[in-house]
Each structure stands twice: as structure tokens, then as C-alpha cells.
């Protein structure tokens, strides 16, 4: 049945991959320029990558990719850098064209050389990660994942360092609300955000540097996480690779369902962003847990498994290894339901067995955290117990004040006390108590898997985009021709040239 499920996921996913291979987006093209070293923004804060891609789009169009016209103009115009070219292009002072013959060859060669430097930088970052892990240590799993989110990067840094000292293995900097809807990546260090801090290259750099310091202090490598979701997935993936982030939320289904981002746009963006993550040695985290915050966690359990199988297919196709697939799921069953803990165990164990080598990301209860902080603390303890029993790899630590406020210092401390107690007391429970064959837990797991196979079969027949349009995931309907960002999608022409794709498709290394 497991093999059948994987085959069905491939059949359901292949048309999406074909679409991504035959299309590009403005954000994919901007990511190419970012990997080639184009940084900075105009006086109004609009990044030069946006200005340059827009200028090319208005003249030659983007169907052949931004690289050919851009590097042709760079070479023939004698520009010292892409940013000099972008400035002129923004002022309307550059005439772009689609070069042919020897001119095209010269443009390709120049683009190729620029991207070679970019990927060398990404490769250096990856080697640096290995080196620092070697000189400190890699913490044992489960990795404890904590969030900071003040809006001010200079406030986030001491909080992140404190959280690491308190025991966090992974720090996630939550993004400002609505950044996923921006069709550009803000620049520089930022000091204000809405319920989160903007993902910018400089913020990435500052936080990684601070956590390197803390990693050395603690003798334990502290990983840094951010979000490559929304309209700029590929660009943020590029910046994450260039600044050595370690894990990235990367799941376009989140943008589709929760932010009404156009499905075509974001599936195309997702493939390119995952290729970059694969190269950078970054672990992705997928967002299946989110479905359970809108849909019922029992009724919709199989949609989580379906999405995980699809994400495994999409991720592997993009070049990610199993150890990079941080598939998501969550502990969100209503605690009033009889046997709710057994159901949670069944779901968590099923996922563990389906993906034995994936660093599964297990999310704590949010939906049934009622404001009764004492009850919430108990629920979080059960979540921790399910997590250690079923050997989940990444435990996002639940806060008893979930849904009330951003965590107090004490909330975080109590949460860590909770997980430490559970891990100490029951860390080896899983190996000592196996669910009996044919018992409730096993039967439930079989049922969820069977429902997942049925749904995958329907998706394969109807098409994934139609399934998303019908509200299969997170009970939200998202048609393929609606949502934000569709106008940034275009079909690749014959002769489309993406100098980064040449490195990422494995023809070069």
C-alpha cells in the first residue's frame, strides 16, 4: 500500500513538475539576479532586482529569461556591475534586446561566470556549516524549535541567544504579517514589523552571526530558520543559501490556502526555490500542520499524509535528499474526543514509518488552546509525549499562552521545562511499548493510509490544481486561475535561458 501511495503521488505531482519546467516567474528571474550578486534597492526601497526584471519585461519580455537580455546589455554596454546596469535600466536608459549568434554566446558566458561565483558562495556557506558543526557539535534529536518574533532584529538577537542558552536547538524568526504578499524582498536591517520581523538578507546575516557566536559558546550548533513562502520563494531561498540559514519553511500550499497566492505561480516558484535549498544543504519544513488548524484533525488526517507524499515527490524531484525533507504534521485533535491521544499517536507513528529518514517537524496544539493556561500546559505535555514516543525529529515547543500573546520569557522557560521532563522520563517509552498488532492504534493508522491512497487516486484523476480548487486541503477553495501573482507567470519560449538552472539541474557542479 505504501508503494502504491508513492506511485500515486508521482502521478498526481508530475503535471505540476511539467508546468514548472515549461514556465518561469518574475521571482524566479529575480532569484537568478540575486544569485549573480545583484543586491540593494532604489531610493524608494524597491530592490534593483525588481527594477531590472521589470525593465527587461517591458522591452524584450521575459519569455527567454532575464539573463540573456540583461547580460547582453551588461557586456555590450560595458557596465562594471549588474547594479550599475539596473540603475540605468530603471531610468529607462538601457535598450534591451535578444542577442543572437556570437553576442548571445558572449552574454551566456558572462551570465554563466556570474552564477558560477554565486554558487561557489553558496557552496562555501554549506561547507562552513559543516565546519562549525564539526568544531561545536550536532545536537541529538529531537531538535527543540523555538520562535522569536519582536519585529526588531536587534531585539530578536538577544532573545534568540537567550532561547538557545535555555535549550533551543533551532531558532525561527517569524516574519512580519503579510510579507508573503509582497512581490519584493525588503532590504537592510529592519526594526519594525507586524507580529514578526521582515526576512531580509541583512537580517539573515546579523542573526546567523549572532547564533554562530552562541553556538561556539554552547559547544552546540544552533540552527536558524526562516520562511521561503509567499510571492518571493525563490529569492528568499537564494538569500538563505547565501547567508547560511539552516532550515526554511518551504511549502507553497501554505501560500495558496492561507494567503490566496495563485497556485501556478507558487508551484513554479517552489520548484526553483527547493532546487536552491538542495544545493545549499538546507532542510525544508513543510506546512501540512496548517491544514489541521482549519479542518478537523481527525477527519482531515489523511490530507496531511497526501500532502506529505506530494511534498516528498516534489522535494525529491527538485534534488532534495531525504534528510532535507522536514515534512510537517501536528497535534491538533480536539482533546474532548475520546481516545484523542491514541489517535494522535496513530497519526504520528504512521508518518514516522512512512518517512523513516525524514526530519519530521511536529507542531504543538494551537486550535484547542483555550486560554486555560493550566489545561494548555497539560496538553503540551501530551504533545511532547507523543513526539518523543514516535521519535519526531523537530519539536516545535508549545506555549501554554498560545493564542493569548507572543510568549513571555517565562512561558518559554516553562515550555522547555515541560519538554525536558517528558524526554527525561519517557524518552525510551516508544521502544518499550509497541502498539499491539491489529489494535486500535494500528487500525487507525491503516485507515488513514487507506483514505490517503483513495484521495491520491482521485487527485491523480482530476489533477492536483483541480483538487486545490475544490477545497481538498484546509477546506479552502483556491482556483488555479485566481489569487495573487498570476500576472508574474509566463511560459518559457524556445531558447529560454536560465544560467542558474544549469547549475541546479545537475549538469554542472
Amino acid at each position: 500500500m505504501v508503494r502504491a501511495a508513492r506511485d500515486l503521488a508521482r502521478i498526481a505531482g508530475q503535471p505540476i513538475v511539467d508546468m514548472a519546467r515549461s514556465h518561469s516567474t518574475v521571482s524566479v528571474e529575480r532569484a537568478v539576479l540575486r544569485l549573480a550578486g545583484l543586491d540593494g534597492a532604489d531610493e524608494g526601497g524597491m530592490p534593483w532586482v525588481n527594477r531590472l526584471v521589470d525593465a527587461v519585461r517591458e522591452t524584450t519580455g521575459l519569455e527567454h529569461g532575464v539573463a540573456l537580455p540583461a547580460w547582453d546589455a551588461l557586456v555590450t554596454g560595458g557596465y562594471p556591475s549588474l547594479s550599475a546596469l539596473a540603475r540605468d535600466a530603471a531610468a529607462g536608459a538601457v535598450k534591451f534586446r535578444l542577442p543572437e549568434g556570437a553576442d548571445a554566446a558572449a552574454a551566456r558566458a558572462a551570465a554563466h561566470a556570474a552564477l558560477a561565483r554565486g554558487f561557489a558562495a553558496v557552496d562555501t556557506r554549506r561547507a562552513q556549516r559543516e565546519a562549525i558543526i564539526g568544531e561545536t557539535s550536532d545536537p541529538p534529536k529531537p531538535w527543540i524549535y523555538l520562535i522569536v518574533a519582536t519585529g526588531d532584529i536587534y531585539e530578536d538577537i538577544p532573545q534568540a541567544q537567550a532561547a538557545a542558552r535555555e535549550g533551543a536547538d533551532i531558532i525561527a524568526v517569524i516574519r512580519s504579517t503579510g510579507q508573503s504578499l509582497l512581490d519584493y524582498v525588503p532590504e537592510g536591517a529592519t526594526r519594525e514589523g507586524f507580529a514578526g520581523t521582515y526576512a531580509t538578507r541583512e537580517n539573515f546575516r546579523l542573526m546567523r552571526a549572532a547564533l554562530d557566536q552562541t553556538s561556539r559558546e554552547l559547544g552546540r550548533y544552533v540552527r536558524l530558520t526562516n520562511y521561503a513562502s509567499g510571492l518571493c520563494m525563490p529569492e528568499i531561498a537564494a538569500l538563505a543559501g547565501l547567508e547560511r540559514l539552516d532550515m526554511m519553511l518551504n511549502d507553497c500550499m501554505y501560500g495558496i490556502i492561507f494567503r490566496d497566492i495563485n497556485p501556478r505561480r507558487t508551484f513554479i516558484d517552489q520548484r526553483f526555490s527547493r532546487q536552491i535549498h538542495a544545493r545549499a544543504g538546507i532542510i525544508i519544513n513543510t506546512g501540512e500542520d496548517n491544514y489541521l488548524t482549519t479542518a478537523d484533525a481527525v477527519d482531515a488526517a489523511h490530507t496531511v499524509v497526501v500532502s506529505q507524499l506530494l511534498n516528498e515527490f516534489f522535494g525529491t524531484e527538485a534534488g532534495l535528499a531525504d534528510w532535507q525533507l522536514g515534512l510537517g504534521h501536528a497535534f491538533e485533535i480536539n482533546p474532548e474526543v475520546p481516545d484523542s491521544f491514541l489517535l494522535e499517536l496513530a497519526h504520528a507513528q504512521l508518518v514516522r514509518e512512512l518517512f523513516p529518514d525524514a526530519p519530521l517537524k511536529y507542531m504543538p496544539p494551537t486550535k484547542h488552546m483555550t486560554g486555560n493556561v493550566f489545561g494548555g500546559y497539560l496538553l503540551d505535555a501530551f504533545f511532547n509525549l507523543a513526539g518523543v514516543m514516535t521519535e519526531q525529529s523537530i519539536l516545535l515547543i508549545g506555549m501554554m499562552t498560545e493564542g493569548i500573546h507572543t510568549p513571555f520569557l517565562s512561558d518559554r522557560d516553562l515550555a522547555l521545562e515541560n519538554v525536558r521532563y517528558v524526554a527525561r522520563a519517557a524518552g525510551r517509552l516508544g521502544e518499550n511499548f509497541r502498539p499491539p498488532a491489529g489494535g486500535f492504534v494500528q487500525q487507525r493508522a491503516q485507515q488513514v493510509l487507506a483514505e490517503a491512497v483513495d484521495l491520491l487516486r482521485r487527485i491523480g484523476a482530476d489533477g492536483l490544481l483541480n483538487a486545490i480548487a475544490d477545497g481538498t486541503f484546509g477546506i479552502t477553495r483556491r482556483p488555479a486561475d485566481a489569487g495573487r501573482g498570476l500576472d508574474g507567470v509566463f511560459q518559457r519560449a524556445d531558447g529560454y535561458f536560465n544560467p542558474a538552472a544549469e547549475f541546479l539541474e545537475g549538469q554542472e557542479s
Binding site: 503579510g178 482549519t294 522557560d413
Partner: protein
Amino acid sequence: MTGEAGPVIRPYGDTTGDGRVQLSFTLPVPFGTEHERAVAEGAALQLAAKMGLEPAMVVHAKGMGPAFTFFIVYGRSSHLVDLSEVTVAEREFPVLPAAEINLRIRSGLGREMVVLGACIGTDAHTVGIDAILNVKGHAGEKGLEYYREMRVVNLGAQVDVAHLVARAAAEHADAVLVSQVVTQRDAHLAGARALADAFSTGMSGGGASGGERRGRPLLVVGGPRFDPTMATELGVDKIFGRGTTPREVASYLVHTLTPEPAAAGAGS
């Protein structure tokens, strides 16, 4: 109950009138050496006393890092609660659970409720309208898109008012939600007035609520700098200010657009 003289009460621990309460808090003090611990507990007791807890007892204290201490304190509150002085802010509509909102639409309207949302004029800040409309939601509440009985059309930013009127007619919108964040030179007020004007001239007015389509959709405006009492002056039906949650908006919409459910059984 309001207006009647109520009894005077105290918190209840295990005996009437004992006044016992618990609280927990963090102070930015170290909890390392014996002296530091004594100072920290003394500081916690001083705070408790100033909060009216006397006598109080620190039952738990724990250092968190080098500079903070967490406390759990029990104490006897010296304050009295006079129930006759309790005032309850009257809201013109009850905030309902999501399931009940869906039910009210289904039974009261007999069809889906159509909600159109936009940021108008030059305002490109969609944070507000997205917080109310996107499934993602705000303040722990899912947005209006989450409600099965609502059809939400989010037009996004910088929508022209004339276009909004045309779309509202084409979609048979029951309500139009507009958020305005930019307040330079009172742009938010001008925007709200422009909205009201466009709808009063662009669509016929009046009409019954309930099962019938209203001639003009309900006009709802929101933003952090609006004064919620200015609705009439600006010519819109409702203004929501800072901190509004999606469920409040949804509750207002069903309250206004669907008839009250028939009183059940013995009545209200």
C-alpha cells in the same frame, strides 16, 4: 442585573471570604547567590503587597538565565469587589461562534453571504483587510474566508472606487469591507466619504435585508486610526477600529444582514 445593588465579594480559595489568589510573574533580577535569592523573593513580596496581596507567600522562584527570576505567589487580596459597580460595555451585536455565524447565514439568508473586500485609492497596505479576510486571520481567529457560508472576494490594494462599485454589483455583494491604513492628510476619512458617495450614486438605495438582496451593500470601513463613532458622518454603515477581530466583523454582518432567529421554547 445591571443597576441592582449587588453584594460585596472577595476571591474564594477554600473558605468564603478568604480572599486568596494566585499569580505568576517575572522580575528582572538574578537568582544566583543566597543573597540574590533573598533579594529576589523580597522584591516579589513587595510587588505582591503593592498589588494588594497581604499576606503573600512566594511558593516558587526560579532563575531564568543570569538576569531574570520567575515567581509563583499566593496571597490574600485586601480588595473588595462591589458587584453593583460592575459596568458591562454594551455592544450593539453579540459576538457569535463561527458555527453559529454559518448557521445564521444558512437559515436567515438561505444562500451564501457575499463579502467584497479592498483597500481603496492609493492605499497599498493590505495588512488590515487581509487580517480580516484571509483564512490565516488575526489574533487567533480565522478570517472570513474560513466561514463556509461566506463567499469572500478580496480585490487587494489600490482599488478604484468606481471599479469597486461595479464589482459589488456584479458579485451581488451583501457587504463591502474597505480598510484604510494611510492617514496622511486624513486620507482615510476622504477615502471613506468617497466610498459612501460612489455607492449612493452608483447603486439604488434601500431594500429589505434578509432573504432579499439589498439595493446597496452594507458598507463597512476599518483601520487603526478610525473613530468608530463617525460612521454616520462619513456615510457608511459601520466603522471598526484598531484590534478588531474577524469574528467581530462576521458577527456584525450576520446581525445586520440576517433576521434574528425565532425565539425558541419559552422565549428570551
